[in-house]
Every structure is written in C-alpha cells, then in structure tokens.
Amino acid sequence: MKQHYSIFTLARNAVSYHENWTEAWRSPDPKPAYDVIIVGGGGHGLATAYYLAKEHGITNVAVIEKGWLGGGNTGRNTTIVRSNYLWDESAHLYEHSLKLWEGLSQDLNYNVMFSQRGLLSTAHTVHDMQALRRRVYAIQLNGIDSEILDREQVAAYCPILDCSPNARYPVFGASLQRRGGVARHDAVAWGYARGADARGIDIIQNCEVTGFKIENGKVVGVETTRGSIGARKVGVVVAGHCGVLAGMAGFRLPIESHPLQAMVSEPIKPVLNCVVMSGQVHVYVSQSDKGELVFGAGIDTYNSYSQYGSPPVVENMLNALTELFPIFGRLRFLRQWAGIVDTCPDASPIIGKTPIENLFFNCGWGTGGFKATPGSGHVFAHTIATGEPHKFAAPFALERFTTGYLIDEHGAAGVAH
C-alpha cells in the first residue's frame, strides 16, 4: 500500500513518532523475464520506467541498478536546471524537460524541491557578450524565456558578484533565465522510483548487468550478478559506463568517460539568491537550502572511471570562484567528489536505437543531463514503447555521427552545464 504524502500524513506520522512510515518502494527479487528492462537506476533510468508505466501502460518492467538508486551522477551533480540552449533541437528537448520539472513535485507526489531562483550566465569580454546576445536572441525565437542584463543590472540582481571595473574578470553583462534554478538531486531519483514502484515496476538494486543475451542480432535479455533475466526490450541508461555496456553488446560509441568534480563549502547564511555560471572563467555556483555553496567547473581532461578527480582542476575552480566572488575567499570547504560523465563530441546526448534490435541507449548527457532527467525519461519511454524515436529525440540518434548532422552545443550552451 502506497502512502499518499501530504501535510496530514506528516502530522499523523509525527503523532506516532515517525515509526510507521512505509517503505517508498519494494525490493523484489528479479522475475525470470520482463517486457522491458532498464539498465541503470539513476534519474534518467527511473524516469524512463515511470513514464513507460504512466504514459504507455507498460508495467512489466524492471530497473536494474548495480549500486544504489541515484548513486551515480544523479546524486553527485550540482543540480542546475535550465533550458537556454542555442540550437532548435536542444531547445525543444530541454524546454520539454523544464516544463515537466515545473509540475514534477505534484505529478510524483514527492517534493523534488525544484527552485526556480533564476540563472545568470556572465560575460567577461566584448566577444563573450556578442556570443551571449546571439544565444539569447536564438533562445527567444524558440519562445523560451531569456533576457540580457547589462553590468549595472547584474550588480543589482546578484550583489555579491564582483562587478567592479577593476575586477580580474570584469563583468560586461549576463544572460538571465528566470525559470532556471536548482532541484534536490536524490529526491528526483527517489520520487521517480516511488512512482514507478507504485505502478508495479520492479526496482532491483545491487545487481550489475554483466552482459547481453543477443540472438540473431536481437537482444533477448541480460546477464546479471543475480542470474540471467529475459527481456523483450532493453533500455540502457548508465551515463559514464555506456561505453562498457556498448562493448558488451559489440559496438562502439563516440563517447569518452571523464571525471567531473564538484565541491561544497561549510554552510553559511543565505548570500546567493540565484545560480551564477561563467563559461569564460569557468565556474558555476549556487547555495543549497542547507546554506552550503555548491560549485563545480570543467571535466578532468583524461579518460577515467575513478570517482575522485585531480587537484589542478580544483585549483582552477577555486581561482575562478574567488575572483568572481571575493566574499567566498575565506570560506572552508567540506567535501569534494567526482562523477564519471559520458562526454560526446558535440556535447549533445545520444537517444535511441543501436545496431542491436530492441536494444536502446540513452547516454552522452555528459556534464549537463540532470536538468534533462524528466524530459529524457519521457522521450526515451516513448522511443522504447513505440520502437520509434519521439520527435524531440529523433535528431539525437546515433546515426548523426554518420550523417554528419551534429548538434554542436559546445560553448553555445554558455558553459558545460
């Protein structure tokens, strides 16, 4: 029995000392076979399962996760959500996602703490400012909110940003997406897991997929550390490990895996009212509801599957942060970590069919897929259910590397996130 979460449930449970909350999802043993298996219990995989059930009525589904839910990049990211992308294809996909974010807590009956506090992308040179204008106009033509602020307006919007003319990286202006913001990362995974489970989907943690069962070019199941499981269709959503899984199926992807690092400071009183990102100086920062500053920058340059990351990157990130926000110079830092991101040559995801029939991949989100979690799950569920790509997913097929129709969002998106 699923408890509906509300103020009344909270009050009732408070009276019984919070001892009677029921589990948010079951942990069943895997069945011998499913209609659909989703590999990877991050936000994208869980969202895919949820929309398979909700939009397509497909509930004989298992999500198979080698560790714990959201233990990959979902639980390691800096949670920036926005839809101000340059190219039409990306604008449609990310805006589709942002619209789903706007109703997500209600839809899931789970507070994902989505906070549309506004997102500033700063420009630090004349050319930066020109590129920013071009981007904002393109975004506006797609009907997506985006505006240009000059230096005085930036200083008024975000007072602690160093906008003085003597700054090491003078601020020339910024773009602002007021609907952009942040969300609670774990809650997104948990909310989708709970919603999928309530519709009958099996969520199986601590179970690693070690191979695919392929007959005559068609996938018929997966091998796992808990035995082999049959499936009519398989969707793989494993972020940094997509190359490993593609290798198991016998093909290659145009993807390389790199660590991306993030850090949090000690908690302080509210000082930062919005998200600030600087592509030129390369850092992005927001303040969590607990008061910690959460920030990150670029990837470690070399291929790696080690979730720690190297010190020179931290040094660059801190240099950028303290030049833009001198006020942060004396803060202490609590934690630093890394996730393994799946970077694609055109900084856009790959969603859809593979050389193996009934095997679908959703990967390549790299440094910026958290914002896409609802939209990605929604279009991928459609792709798996119907066997044909959703219209927003179609341009992101693997074939684009053969046709040359790349969707180059490097830099165009402002910064890696």
Partner: protein
Amino acid sequence: MLLIPCPFCGKRDEHEFTYAREAHIARPTNGEQMSDAEWAQYLFMRKNPKGVHYERWMHAKGCRRYFNVARDTVTHEIYAVYEMGQPAPAIERENGR
C-alpha cells in the same frame, strides 16, 4: 595528481602536460572508397575502456613532444610510456579487470 614519466624529461606533474586522447588511430589511406559509416568509426567511435587505455600526452610545459602512455583508467596506474610510432605494448593486469 598523475606523475607522468616523460620519455625525454623524466617524471613531472600532470599539469605540465596536455592530454591528446586515444592513441593508435591510424588515418585511413583509402578515404575515397570509404562509406560514411566507416568514416564515422574513424572520426568519432572510441574504445573508452574501463581498464588499460593507450593514449597520447604532450609535454606542453616541457619538451613539447608527444608520446604514448598505457594507463589504467580505474587506478590511474601508468604501465608503460613509449615514443610515437612504437607499437602498443601488451599489458598484463594483476586483477584481470
């Protein structure tokens, strides 16, 4: 932090180097006959292994020469460093990953 043994200068910190990605990708000599799919394989598809990776580095703040490295992408252990044009050495890994 990696300590990379440049074959020309010796061991130096990683920030002296730039990474130049997967090694041993030979430019095709029969380009005119190749299909788009074959071009895609050459241009974009990568091994991206979880384990031994054969890759190129350039000693940007030193001798500025390129060389090859065989490195573990999980432990970051460097197994071998060898000059451009040399064949990739076979690497036996203890844990067989």
